[in-house]
């Protein structure tokens, strides 16, 4: 059966008939009620899951490179970003050798917020004690309300699912996110916390898009000693005494821009430790890490550079803007699409603090919802008049927008592109196909 599905995946991909990354898994789901149970015994060492609104793909690929470099074994991962249950299953099917042999050491999977409960349900009763199971929870931000629902609702579902994990499972939690840190209190499992200790990087002005300013334990409002971004920071509840737990001491040098990259690095570091990788190996691999596609990816064209910062929700967008502004940009390109993977509702752009973009930066808007984007920018500019409006440009077609952006640069300068998910794929396609130039 597995071989049949594996062939099916190839055929689908070969003839471009739908997604080879999810269909084999979809068919398998028809036959097995708890499909992952079938594969779990095949992993010799264990399974690592990564969930959270932002940073899943990057963290997952960090962990995969750690395990590959240090352990050298065979790792199964859903690196195509197919992160629903069918994507996880499809990754397992595709990893089978043609003779049907399985020789897997680790499974490392990123899991969609809504799918986490159904994925964990599979693990519940099928994970023998000698195999490791590690669950990394990065953060919870508001994201695609039309698809995911409210942050609180997801947190409640996760808590229920976590309670069903076997007692030898380990949690790696972001201590700076109150909602995530709370799982360490409410679920009795071995827990490791990561977080940032850098007073000098506290935000001076709070982001608007705050999701968990209330104590997850008693619902009093939280007090923050400092905030890194959105609701992540050093927090405490003055009513019930619940506070940000102490975090692991981690020192990694990394060239990845943006404070938020540290969260992904720290989470991967702790996953490496949980998998038994030595501290030296972990530090070396992670400090050399190159980002996953579309995440701070750089493409060179005609001795000018284009750098892509995937920006798919308010917290991610705010983090990207700050990282980009630190790099002193001349021009930025905002690409807003509203296809299924982006979310159909574009209301969230009003939760992004575009007001911090200074008037000297040229802003080009594009995407399916280019006019929603440019209106948002118009209302973010401090003094709107004929002079300041020159800062803003509208290009309905993405290829024209990229061309225009590049035309404004001198050699060796960089155009920063902040796209939503489907817009990121489109941008890469244009740039790597070099169709426009």
């Amino acid at each position: 059966m597995i071989i049949f599905l594996k062939v099916m995946g190839y055929v689908l991909r070969f003839f471009h008939l739908g997604s080879g990354a999810t269909w084999p898994g979809e068919v398998f789901l028809e036959f097995y009620h708890r499909p992952l149970v079938y594969f779990i015994p095949k992993f010799k060492e264990g399974i690592i899951f990564v969930a959270g609104t932002n940073g899943k793909t990057t963290t997952t690929s960090m962990i995969v490179s750690l395990l590959e470099k240090s352990e050298g074994g065979k790792i199964v991962t859903n690196d195509t970003g197919a992160n629903l249950l069918n994507g996880v299953i499809s990754a397992c099917i595709n990893a089978y050798s043609w003779s049907g042999n399985t020789d897997f050491d680790w499974g490392v999977f990123e899991v969609d917020e809504n799918s986490l409960p159904s994925v964990l349900m599979n693990v519940q009763c099928s994970m023998p004690n000698e195999k490791k199971i590690v669950l990394i929870l990065l953060n919870l931000f508001r994201d695609q309300l039309d698809r995911y629902g409210e942050v609180d609702a997801i947190a409640r579902k996760w808590e229920k699912a976590l309670r069903m994990l076997p007692s030898h499972a380990q949690l790696i939690l972001n201590a700076d996110d109150p909602q995530i840190a709370y799982f360490g209190k409410s679920v009795k499992l071995k827990t490791h916390y990561f977080g940032i200790n850098q007073k000098e990087n506290y935000l001076k002005i709070k982001d608007h898009a705050i999701d968990s300013a209330y104590c997850p334990n008693c619902w009093n409002s939280l007090t923050y000693e400092g905030i890194y971004f959105s609701h992540l920071g050093i927090w405490r509840c003055d009513k019930c005494g619940f506070k940000r737990p102490p975090v692991a001491n981690i020192n990694i040098k990394s060239h990845l821009p943006g404070l938020y990259s540290l969260y992904n690095l720290y989470a991967a570091y702790l996953a490496g430790a949980a998998a038994g990788i030595s501290k030296e190996d972990t530090e070396k691999t992670l400090s050399d890490f190159k980002p996953a596609f579309g995440r701070q990816e750089e493409v060179e064209i005609d001795r000018k550079k284009v750098k892509i910062f995937l920006s798919k929700n308010p917290a991610g967008f705010n983090a990207s803007i700050r990282a980009v502004l630190d790099l002193k940009p001349k021009a930025i390109l905002l690409v807003l699409n509203d296809r299924i993977p982006d979310g159909r509702d574009v209301s969230w752009i009003y939760d992004v603090d575009f007001e911090i973009v200074p008037p000297i930066v040229s802003v080009i808007c594009s995407g399916d919802r280019v006019y929603d984007m440019v209106v948002r920018m118009k209302y973010a500019i401090k003094h709107w008049n004929n002079e300041t409006m020159k800062q803003l440009m509208v290009e309905e077609k993405l290829s024209d927008a990229l061309k225009r952006g590049l035309s404004m640069l001198n050699k060796r300068e960089t155009l920063y592109v902040l796209p939503t998910y489907s817009a990121m794929l489109e941008t890469r396609k244009i740039l790597t196909g070099k169709k426009i130039l």
């Binding site: 508001r142 309300l145 209330y214 159909r344 209301s347 009003y350 939760d351 209106v375």
Partner: protein, 256 residues
């Protein structure tokens, strides 16, 4: 004469779930561009009624379930103050989930019946969390009550709706719009939202005013006229981009 407006934003820390602050930004900017001074008052649980009463315009957005309960319990204590303000003609805009607080009651997805302020004559019922939500781009038709001088008027409103509850209007309750595309109050009777005096309640999501500048200007003008007790003409603005965003939705839904 220098005009000044005080905008009251209801519970920004509890009820600003998905871009709702867009409406505040749009009102502030459209005033600023016309040199109308604005002051923003954030109405939170510890805000006094005196501060609430000093507002010339009230804006409300959506909340998550838990936060909504916290907001309602505070709002119920202020019921008479708000009702008196609205009866005086203070304009307001309630989007997303907040209209549910203003009717007689709201039955949640778990079957819990929460009392509302009873200012609007309607009731809202959520038929269970397993029932499909009303989600998608939406278009409505409004009447010329909202047409004012110096501001381009179109009898359409556009936006995005996303609600689990269904609202049913009482027999004398006036709908805000007639549904052209989308679900509206309940997916059955083609009504969208409701109007009480100068207060608009509607299911449109988040930054409703960003693509509907005519409604934004109507709110500003109404608030100014009530405050300064005279007829006021707003300065015209260049709204080309806003109307392009508006028309984009009409085009997509084959309305043009």
């Amino acid at each position: 004469m220098n005009f000044k407006l005080t905008i009251g934003w209801l519970y920004p820390s509890l009820m600003s779930t998905y871009g709702d602050r867009g409406n505040v930004i749009v009102i502030e900017k459209r005033c600023q561009w016309r040199e109308i001074e604005t002051h923003l008052t954030r109405i939170e649980i510890d805000t006094t009624n005196r501060e609430l009463e000093s507002c010339d315009l009230i804006l409300g957005g959506g909340a998550q379930d838990r936060q909504q309960e916290m907001a309602v319990s505070d709002l119920l204590k202020r019921k008479n103050v708000l009702k008196e303000m609205f009866d005086r003609g203070i304009p307001g805009l309630f989007v997303c989930g907040s209209p549910q607080l203003l009717g007689h009651y709201y039955v949640t997805g778990e079957g819990k019946k929460l009392p509302g302020l009873g200012i609007f004559d309607y009731v809202t019922q959520h038929f269970g969390n397993d029932k499909p939500r009303c989600i998608g781009n939406t278009i409505g038709k409004i009447d010329s009550k909202f047409e004012i001088r110096n501001s381009k008027f179109k009898n359409t409103i556009v936006g995005f709706e996303n609600h689990g509850g269904r609202t049913y209007l009482g027999k004398d309750c006036v709908p805000f719009a007639q549904v052209i595309k989308g679900y509206g109050n309940n997916g059955e009777d083609k009504t969208e939202g409701a109007v009480y005096k100068n207060v608009i309640a509607c299911y449109y999501h988040g930054p409703f005013l960003s693509k509907n500048p005519h409604v934004a200007d109507w709110l500003i003008k109404t608030a100014l006229e009530l405050k300064y007790k005279k007829e006021i003409e707003l300065d015209p603005l260049d709204d080309e981009l806003e109307w392009k965003a508006h028309e984009e939705i009409l085009n997509r839904m084959n309305m043009k």
